[in-house]
């Protein structure tokens, strides 16, 4: 009893601390990556005892600054809701990771340990429920600030997130139909199969258009450039305009956590999760007949490493998109969402079901 509880708590802490640290590193990575893309150097002055570590201490300096700043609540605003909003945002962004599998089932000391915080049989619904509830953070922040700009920002944010959530739902239906499960662990395990003995049956292979649409809708869901209309910090100012200090910091952290969540979801649903092509429980089995046997622990470590690498790659890719594309206008955003992405996801669904019906 105690041991299994320890294992569960350990897994929760591992995922939580891992995600929070990756989010902190992403704030640094965003600045450095954009700098490298634009032939600049980026933040590199923060140092401890003259040791600069390529500006990594900037993250520490920023968080100290955030904590030390005045925590301002607008005089006519609702103090309780104003304080609650950033916590709602961050909380619902963070709990989504519970259903993301980061490794296969491992047998250690006579126990079966699933490398996933909780293997829900409706894992994907759980994640989207958490993401939808995250909208409350945006709406509350806009509403409780008693500021028209913040209010309009919150409205923009919620309508954008609702619109693209429908597209996300429609795109993943194709994946669910192919892998015939809602448990993310089962979906990842099913992606270990091979098509015609050669191509790994990853989601991106069987659902290429679904993958693209999911990425578009996912970026819109994170409210980052090119879909950063709810925030638009420089011109149209968004829902957290009345926030300062660590409350603002929480909203910023939520952005990065959501980026990681979308990266993790793309990895899990479309890029095989922890799967490595041709790697099964006892080692590599290449199509040419060449095999390389590995111990179970080595295989498990490789799989966890593969999952982390993929998530990190998609974080990098989302940052690349963020620093490449200009922002959409609001009508363009809605047109793209309702007239292009959503109908295409429905067509994709139709095509997928037709193919499945014909293959049966």
């Amino acid at each position: 009893m105690m041991t299994s509880l320890t294992i569960e708590v350990g897994k929760v802490l591992l995922v939580l601390i891992g995600v929070l640290n990756l989010a902190a590193v992403l704030t640094w990575m965003e600045r450095k990556q954009s700098a490298v893309m634009q032939d600049r150097i980026g933040a590199n002055r923060a140092s401890i005892l003259g040791f600069r570590a390529f500006g990594l201490f900037q993250v520490l300096a920023d968080s100290i600054k955030m904590f030390a700043k005045e925590d301002f609540v607008p005089p006519m605003g609702n103090r309780f809701l104003h304080t609650l909003a950033p916590f709602v945002s961050a909380f619902f962004a963070l709990i989504g990771f519970a259903a993301i599998p980061f490794g296969n089932v491992i047998h250690l000391f006579g126990r079966d340990i699933t490398l996933q915080v909780i293997d829900l049989n409706v894992g994907i619904l759980y994640i989207f429920a958490a993401m939808s509830l995250g909208i409350y953070g945006v709406v509350l922040a806009g509403w409780s600030s008693n500021n028209n700009y913040a209010f309009l920002g919150g409205m923009r944010g919620s309508s954008q997130m609702f619109s693209y959530e429908i597209t996300i739902g429609a795109t993943i239906l194709g994946v669910l139909m192919i892998f015939e499960s809602m448990s993310l662990q089962t979906i990842v395990q099913a992606q270990g199969e091979l098509l015609w003995g050669v191509i790994p049956k990853w989601g991106v292979v069987v659902q290429p258009i679904g993958c693209l649409l999911f990425l578009v809708a996912g970026i819109a869901e994170t409210k980052r450039v090119p879909f950063d209309l709810p925030e638009g910090e420089s011109e149209i100012i968004g829902y957290f305009v009345e926030y300062s200090s660590m409350k603002f910091g929480l909203f910023m952290l939520t952005d990065f956590v959501e980026t990681i969540l979308i990266a993790a979801l793309v990895t899990t649903l479309f890029f095989g999760g922890w799967q490595i092509p041709y790697l099964t429980a006892d080692g590599f089995h290449f199509p040419g007949g060449f095999t390389l046997s590995l111990s179970e622990v080595a295989v498990c470590l490789l799989q966890v490493l593969s999952c982390c690498t993929k998530v990190f790659f998609f974080c990098w890719f989302l940052l690349l998109v963020r620093w490449t594309l200009p922002r959409f206008r609001y009508d363009q955003l809605m047109r793209l969402g309702w007239k292009m992405v959503f109908p295409m996801s429905i067509l994709n669904l139709l095509a997928t079901s037709l193919v499945i019906l014909l293959l049966q």
Binding site: Q33, A35, V36, M37, Q38, D39, R40, I41, N44, L212, L320, V321, W323, T324, L325
Partner: protein, 176 residues
């Protein structure tokens, strides 16, 4: 404003998005390669960024660059300047201040007791050099015009001054 009609592929947007991503990621990887080579000491010449880390690193200027003033001397070491006030008159920023005195040599009428140029006001146009009939003032390619402090003391509000009849260039700019 007349903007060009978008072609069909441009209106599809997605192809243009991938073109843009290709461009920025190419920049990312080529710059990253240069940064890594520099960090590992493999290639010290190519830079991954156009930025100069200012206080530690100086941008190399052309030899033709002309900024700080220099007062030329005669063979005996006294300033060549005859305090004719041509440069002071020509100066559009009014940053030159000269106090003339009588020179003991009858062939040279005057010499400057004080010759101050406030580099905090100077616009580095070079008109003083053009105006000088005696070739007494020139500009050098020295780009080190900086100070950590500003001071309001009028006696030290000059960067280039004449002390005891000798042309003297002291190394700092004092912004007044």
């Amino acid at each position: 404003m007349n903007s060009r009609e978008l072609t069909f592929t441009e209106r599809l947007y997605i192809i243009e998005v991938f073109k843009g991503l290709w461009l920025t990621s190419r920049h990312f990887f080529s710059n990253m390669k240069r940064h890594l080579a520099r960090q590992l000491g493999l290639n010290r010449v190519e830079r991954g960024a156009v930025t100069f880390q200012y206080p530690e690193e100086r941008r190399p200027f052309s030899h033709r660059y002309r900024s700080r003033h220099r007062l030329t001397k005669r063979e005996d070491g006294s300033p060549r300047c005859v305090a004719c006030m041509m440069c002071e008159t020509a100066c559009p920023a009014h940053c030159i201040y000269i106090v003339a005195g009588e020179h003991p040599d009858p062939h040279i009428e005057k010499f400057p007791i004080r010759f101050d140029i406030d580099l905090g006001v100077c616009v580095f146009c070079g008109f003083c050099v053009e105006a000088c009939p005696e070739d007494a003032i020139r500009k050098t390619s020295c780009s080190k015009i900086l100070a950590y402090q500003s001071t309001n003391s009028p006696s030290s509000s000059s960067a280039i001054s004449l002390n005891k009849g000798r042309a003297n260039v002291d190394g700092i700019l004092i912004l007044s």
